[in-house]
Symmetry: D2
Subunit: 384 residues, 4 copies
Amino acid sequence: MSHSSRIGLMPLWLALLLIFSLSWCFAQPHGRTEINIPDIPGYLTLKCDFHSHTVFSDGDVWPTVRVEEAWLQGLDAIAITDHIEYQIHSDDIKKNHNRPYAIARSRAAELGIILIKGAEITRDMPPGHFNALFLNDIDPLDTKDWRDALKAANDQGAFVFWNHPGWRQPNEIPIWYDEHTELLQRGWFQGIEIVNEYSFYPKAFQWAQEKNLTILGNSDVHSPIHLTYDVSAGQHRPITLVFAKERSEAGIHQALRTQHTAVYHNNLVIGSAQFLAPIFETAVHIIPLRVAIKGTGRATVQIQNRSGLLFELMATNALEEISFPETILLYPEKTVAIQLKGKSKTLTGKKHIALPFLVKNFLSTPDRGLPVSLTIEIEFISDI
Amino acid sequence: MSHSSRIGLMPLWLALLLIFSLSWCFAQPHGRTEINIPDIPGYLTLKCDFHSHTVFSDGDVWPTVRVEEAWLQGLDAIAITDHIEYQIHSDDIKKNHNRPYAIARSRAAELGIILIKGAEITRDMPPGHFNALFLNDIDPLDTKDWRDALKAANDQGAFVFWNHPGWRQPNEIPIWYDEHTELLQRGWFQGIEIVNEYSFYPKAFQWAQEKNLTILGNSDVHSPIHLTYDVSAGQHRPITLVFAKERSEAGIHQALRTQHTAVYHNNLVIGSAQFLAPIFETAVHIIPLRVAIKGTGRATVQIQNRSGLLFELMATNALEEISFPETILLYPEKTVAIQLKGKSKTLTGKKHIALPFLVKNFLSTPDRGLPVSLTIEIEFISDI
Amino acid sequence: MSHSSRIGLMPLWLALLLIFSLSWCFAQPHGRTEINIPDIPGYLTLKCDFHSHTVFSDGDVWPTVRVEEAWLQGLDAIAITDHIEYQIHSDDIKKNHNRPYAIARSRAAELGIILIKGAEITRDMPPGHFNALFLNDIDPLDTKDWRDALKAANDQGAFVFWNHPGWRQPNEIPIWYDEHTELLQRGWFQGIEIVNEYSFYPKAFQWAQEKNLTILGNSDVHSPIHLTYDVSAGQHRPITLVFAKERSEAGIHQALRTQHTAVYHNNLVIGSAQFLAPIFETAVHIIPLRVAIKGTGRATVQIQNRSGLLFELMATNALEEISFPETILLYPEKTVAIQLKGKSKTLTGKKHIALPFLVKNFLSTPDRGLPVSLTIEIEFISDI
Amino acid sequence: MSHSSRIGLMPLWLALLLIFSLSWCFAQPHGRTEINIPDIPGYLTLKCDFHSHTVFSDGDVWPTVRVEEAWLQGLDAIAITDHIEYQIHSDDIKKNHNRPYAIARSRAAELGIILIKGAEITRDMPPGHFNALFLNDIDPLDTKDWRDALKAANDQGAFVFWNHPGWRQPNEIPIWYDEHTELLQRGWFQGIEIVNEYSFYPKAFQWAQEKNLTILGNSDVHSPIHLTYDVSAGQHRPITLVFAKERSEAGIHQALRTQHTAVYHNNLVIGSAQFLAPIFETAVHIIPLRVAIKGTGRATVQIQNRSGLLFELMATNALEEISFPETILLYPEKTVAIQLKGKSKTLTGKKHIALPFLVKNFLSTPDRGLPVSLTIEIEFISDI
């Protein structure tokens, strides 16, 4: 008889202990997962979502849920931005623009989530929908005329951005109306969503670069976040990366006012090369920094990606001294080994060689990847 | 220059097409995942959760969310069972016991989810909390005395069960009070939760078997389901398996009245051997059904688990003719290969050999796994 | 004091039991995973890889490993096809063309894997490398002239195919040489790899369709399969789908001779619409098959993908009666819910509506997805 | 007509570009994954496997495979330890004890893996199998008498350890024979495997602690590592953690000679508290370090696990001032939020409170978890 067969005959209390033990590993949710995007020199990289809804407008969750989801998913800051003009649950829930923030703020404080008071000004196009952040009182924005609402937001010192500019436009391509020119001239909006939920608007990104608007990418989530983004399949909500001097509401406000943002959407990181380049440089490391190549022989180097981002590298041009891979995928938190091969039998001496790549999924303009280089010191040894 | 380097110089429209294409695989939530637990001879195996809350009592979600979560997670039926006596959001939401069902039913119809109207009678222990299912009108249950509430439920023909009997008891061990004897004698409750959220109450399972109560395992979920069960880490909510003649509200009601249920909790399946044995037999197959063993030689057979359940097999006794593995793990939807080894050089002839196991994580009583056997026809060939 | 704290003071034997129990879930490899690609009417869909190497040429594994990997990964059949002309381990391992098959065959028999005896004729381009399957004796193929080797293979009744035709050609684009015309006219090769390892050769697929060659997609694996394909990240080796009348070596041979194959590579399925269309039709189901739409109202239908394949659907044209999603992703073993919306307030009566799509990742020609339709019976109800 | 439908009509070159792009994310293995177990004060934590086989004894892979697997799985060092007395492939492969190291060393140098030359002395029990590491020449160990072999190893300055002491013993419980006493007295072995493949030998751990032997946990892998450990299901090979002053062969040798090791097996970490405690302290952080509790109110603190290890915390005793969770699971690279609750309405003033736990899955002796504490400064505020 096998020793294990005795377990069928063990006393109840022991059987129960074992069952308890077997069930153990499932006995608790797993907790918060940090988003591994590194800080860059001079700035903290805060992960934010400035557009979400609750049962107080047309969302499906209680305000505290937005805080708990944000905590679980590794965010630093969120804004609840319920529609001012639109309450679909009004048969059951009293209209009260200031309630979502009031309800959620203590849970945010407990969990260390920066909760920014905001609202969505929801008007027909033009000018469409705008989010106002850092509000004191939302009620004054509940006006008949949209100009009054936007003015009221700006009067409170709010940061205002144009939401999902391509929404319900043909082929989701945004259109710039005279009203947007007017608003821009008045200084009544300072940012624009280039990503909203599943949609990326390259045109909006182009406008932002031309007109000096802050770019944002937000979820606009209405249901529980896991019903919209399939986390177990690797999806994530769009995230506004805020490059801030400090992890605080004031730090975020200042960064938003100075266009210190980028957008993380699917595998794309979108923004100015000023911020994208240091993310790459902080995340990616060559090991070792020095190798030797004899004639047309080979050397192996490892490229380590310490971040949770994917980098899709494509060579931009060939080099005289060595050949190297045309494409390299740097998967999150992985290290790849690549081979360099000498091209000359006679080359000799030490050289710093910069491998020239585009990061294809890092968009520093709407139509171009981020140019980067990986530099290695190679000692060439003659092979004759 | 490499061919791929040209992509850096491609026209904007093409770059955008490629970006679109790259983002493609993330453009939509993935959809409903079926729970792969097989039907058994004579019955459909319906996956149900009969205990959940919404913003109309102390939950965090709008009623339609419960339906959408159930659809996504492969359930057949749910009940929304908000507390009758307890509304924590009453400052903002009007008390209305019948609203959650009224709000959620059309979404349930669209998605093919059976939505059962229910409520939680929420009283101090004894007798504690009870769910009533298949109600017509919840208002008559909003009574001062708990006996009146339970009577009102039974007067409507409801199926009533005792919730989380070990909750807030020392060491979570449930206590049977005189009130429960009274209720049982009156026939005012017919079932009992043996699993609630993360807790399993073996004592309640024992009572159910002694007193002929229907066993249930429910989530009692208050927040969005993904905040309580970490699906991306393989967790699932507790599920009441209902063995029904048809996939309908009536089919479920009949099955609940006749103790045709089991409970699926973590890796455990708990219930009567009458239902657990056919699950095993339907799920697990030996390939091939016939092998030959020469003397003390070996034969390989494959054991295929066609279900999404784990089976932890432990041998209960040795066999005269062959040795075989003491423990076998049959992982979900996997096939393992095991080796049988002859014990006699001289044995000859065909025999049906039944390998005797306990399924350690299938509890047919509180302290014992499910006895099963795997039968193979072996042709023994003498080796002299 | 908590009840759990006592575990720190428990007797050694019990502590060990608990530790054993805790470690339990890791105590065995998980076993074979079937590849969920359905059989089609009239044929079994066998999953095969006809190109692999061992230490007997330039591979890194013992021949039995190829069988065990194939079993684990859900394959039905493989061929070990070591180079005849190329043995990099000859300092340590004796050259013996027939050994790999001789070594691996008994393990294949035990695990139910169909092992096909083969070899790779490895010559400079033209004509390049060719695999010969169903050989009796590999030695006669070890000739000086490549014509003699190919003739010897055909003399044994082998099925011969051209391997990785784009390998080491500029931009991996294959070139058709006079030698290939000669071989084709002699009937000395009958198939062509359109996928090898990570490379897809659309040009080879085009030739196959023009010249009636059997298409194959193989791994050409040299190292352990998991070092080349990152299974934990969802990668899989290329697979030749063989549509056979029976699961046997003879069944496969007949199917290969009659072009009854397709290729499964990454998320692509490549082959004739004759086989791709029934895969889609067998895998994808609409639930329910009948709905009603009132005026410009909506109806929800579910599309269930019972296979392990991804289908990327794109609408090919609009319909007069209803609008429907332009793109639908049918993830493996998931069900999505989509909405149909009436376009006319007055339409009335029952109609069979066929939603017209291309399956973008099913290539029935090198430049076109597979046209399919999903048919629903809709009862239109006037809304006036 | 939808804009996407045009893709069906796009030119071939563009269709191919899109197909290429779609296939992109699968075009390369993902690369090396680091094992996130932190260095501890004063030492690097090297991840090592000192027991593996190749085709040169009874393994299934070419020696370079062991290096590539180690690199992929985040190891720092391995030893190939083929049996000296046992070559099952001798019909095909020439016996040559020094070949595996000679073959694999250049690949190890390229990938930065420390490859230690070793061999397995393979004799009947007693004394059983022993690994010798840091050998110069394996041939002198190929002796008739086992004493000669062990002496030859020690004469070369090898580090010698007893392998899988419970293997083939009743119930896998190891037996200490007189021969082991003899060997220990001669100083001819210095370590012992307490984990081998899937087996943990608590008795061997006890002996190691009593007799001052170095503990090791190794894979003893014969097949490709992924056939034995199902990485896609979260399994990992046993790992010997070596606490070394430098990442080099010499650093490892010194650490092995001074019992500076622990063993990582499934979710268990086994070893002296001297090393286990600093792993916990380096990995686990409380945020914030100071909170306030008013009367019997609550405070939330977050516990962050920065390592890739699981910690199963169980409270060892209750505290006077506050209640806190009895069990806490700290999942790898996750943060959990827990609640502390005051017990006294009147307590006032600042206190450093140490929450007392056992880490149940960290075994500092065979029968006991590791005692740890989490210290928080709490400001108690009277609530009267």
